[in-house]
Symmetry: C2
Subunit: 172 residues, 2 copies
């Protein structure tokens, strides 16, 4: 019936998760669902925007002249250009971001954080940091925090469409 060692046929019987793996995976799904939901709710209530949008403002605040090309911002935030386009349109309506043409590339657009956007960030950063602390860092030992960082780094690296050596594809 099963010609291969119980759990490893080429593409016949898939390698199901063990009970322990399942427990881990479910904990992961539960935690990420609950946390994203929690942060979305906190920011929506206090700052009037979802977590992702807040993240965009943060990236802009850290960028050289508070501006980033659309494509770069999308890459940084790990979202599609389409999604970013919609998001920036909304943030622009709020007066928190402004678009600017790129002089060197007529297709290009900069998303620029306005003073008003900076102010929103300043006002709501404490609440957000607090939420993150309360939900994550305050509950983990230093070792667990370190582990979490390493693990998430590995997972992210594995899914990154590009990253180090992205322009040297033959090296991969």
């Amino acid at each position: 019936m099963n010609t291969a060692p119980a759990s490893s046929a080429a593409a016949g019987e898939p390698r199901w998760l063990t009970d322990e793996e399942q427990r881990v995976w479910r904990a992961y799904v539960d935690a990420t669902t609950l946390l994203e939901d929690h942060l979305d709710r906190q920011l929506q209530r206090d700052a009037g925007m979802p977590h992702v949008y807040y993240g965009l403002l943060v990236k802009l605040a850290e960028a050289p002249r508070r501006r980033l090309r659309m494509t770069e911002l999308a890459k940084d935030a790990k979202i599609t250009r389409s999604r970013l386009s919609h998001a920036v349109a909304r943030l622009e309506k709020n007066g928190w971001v402004r678009r600017e043409d790129c002089p060197s590339d007529k297709r290009g657009q900069f998303a620029v954080l306005t003073d008003e956007g900076m102010e929103v960030l300043r006002r709501h950063a404490p609440g957000h940091v607090n939420a993150v602390r309360q939900a994550v860092f305050d509950r983990l030992t230093p070792e667990q925090q370190k582990s979490l960082g390493e693990i998430m780094g590995i997972v992210a690296e594995g899914l990154q469409p590009s990253e180090a050596g992205a322009d040297l594809p033959w090296l991969r």
Copy 2:
């Protein structure tokens, strides 16, 4: 100016994340964003539904008579009843889930996994497991897997609106 030790005023200066904490947090956000996106895409392409919907089918498949009360399913999946209502409506249109009245409580509804729904699950589970393995388990050592499970368990527990002792609120 600052009467308290540089980084701990009651509600004055918030406790910002240290550089190391920031690295951890960003790795977390990046990894979860990329992974959820990846799984959504895989399931949408192969099975025609987002990850959350797939999760609902799984919960139903594991339930006693392949059925769960709406409220219970929502709790299990960590989503709101409203969201579930819309989701089940969609899954019902696909013929994967059917609603059934609860005999003992006329307000109640069961969501029931149909044979067709079961079949969809059977057909697409291997691809999904594979995606999860490839993105997560294949990249982590056993120790890291164990850590991940513990950490996510702690975070989830902290955000659970209810759980153990939920009906004994005075004990909390």
